[in-house]
Symmetry: C2
Subunit: 188 residues, 2 copies
Amino acid sequence: MERLINRIRKEAYVIDNRIVKVDHFINHMLDTELVFEIGKEFSDKFPNATKILTIETSGIAFAVGTAFHLDNIPIVFAKKCPSLITDDNVYSSQIYSFTKQIESTVTVSKGFLTSKDKVLIIDDFLAMGSALNGLISIAEQSGAEIIGVGVVIEKGFQGGRKNIKNKEVVIYSLANIIDIKNNIPIFK
Amino acid sequence: MERLINRIRKEAYVIDNRIVKVDHFINHMLDTELVFEIGKEFSDKFPNATKILTIETSGIAFAVGTAFHLDNIPIVFAKKCPSLITDDNVYSSQIYSFTKQIESTVTVSKGFLTSKDKVLIIDDFLAMGSALNGLISIAEQSGAEIIGVGVVIEKGFQGGRKNIKNKEVVIYSLANIIDIKNNIPIFK
């Protein structure tokens, strides 16, 4: 997505050839117009979705922007809890944040995702792939059909895509940073 | 807001005359159409806002739905951290969750909220008022003008409105539950 890539090129603040800070338009302040343009891209790619699955926090806005372009299909956001929970009423999965160096449990209430759903998974970043594996696992537990995954920014240089266990799932990222040199991101 | 009130009347699951569960359309699964209708109500009430301030997690979707109807003004969402932080680059405030019985710090990067902003604060619930006091405090620290507060569901029976320290701020809630009897909510 040209506009997103240009925006990252011009405005992202890169630290240590590794951290790409875009919190003034992606994950702390939001450029609302861009949110809906991103949603349009995802909706064009996956027009057959009947439900969106995302994860708190930063995926939610893009899920809304996408659902808007898909006749306002419902959104479910997985919740993060610090501790392992055993609850028969939820699908759950363990994920690990390499940024925060914490493990957490993500859950979705069983009633909100079923085998009748055609699920589009949305997230802001694909880094090491742990969160995405968690979301895919939750969708699999529910028996839902996974239509695909929409990622706003893929940090391809971290290789998360190859860590995704389910090799059938189509992952569509709008900006894929495959390398960073002298703190300048290089896109695929 | 008639449609929201009817929805709560028909579908909310009330426990112990106190807990109002609406997580199948407000704070776990989202009815996207309702999200945009709620946004329309807030935008009609506060048309002069130039920025929306909300708090992760459940406020974000309603912030997007509102910004959409206000020419896509930017959104800032305050972040919650478990511990007290001292960082000169952020506005911060302590809040207490009576539901989770934990104190946390909410922060906003200083660059994202300034005295030039006319801020509309959006949140999903007003219960005891702690989160809202935190958001108002952050807006005050930034010098921004607070245009008003939009709350999706006010739990009026918990009296949070009278706990709000800044008495000048206009608080507009779309459904105000002033009492619960036999697990049936009574609206103002």
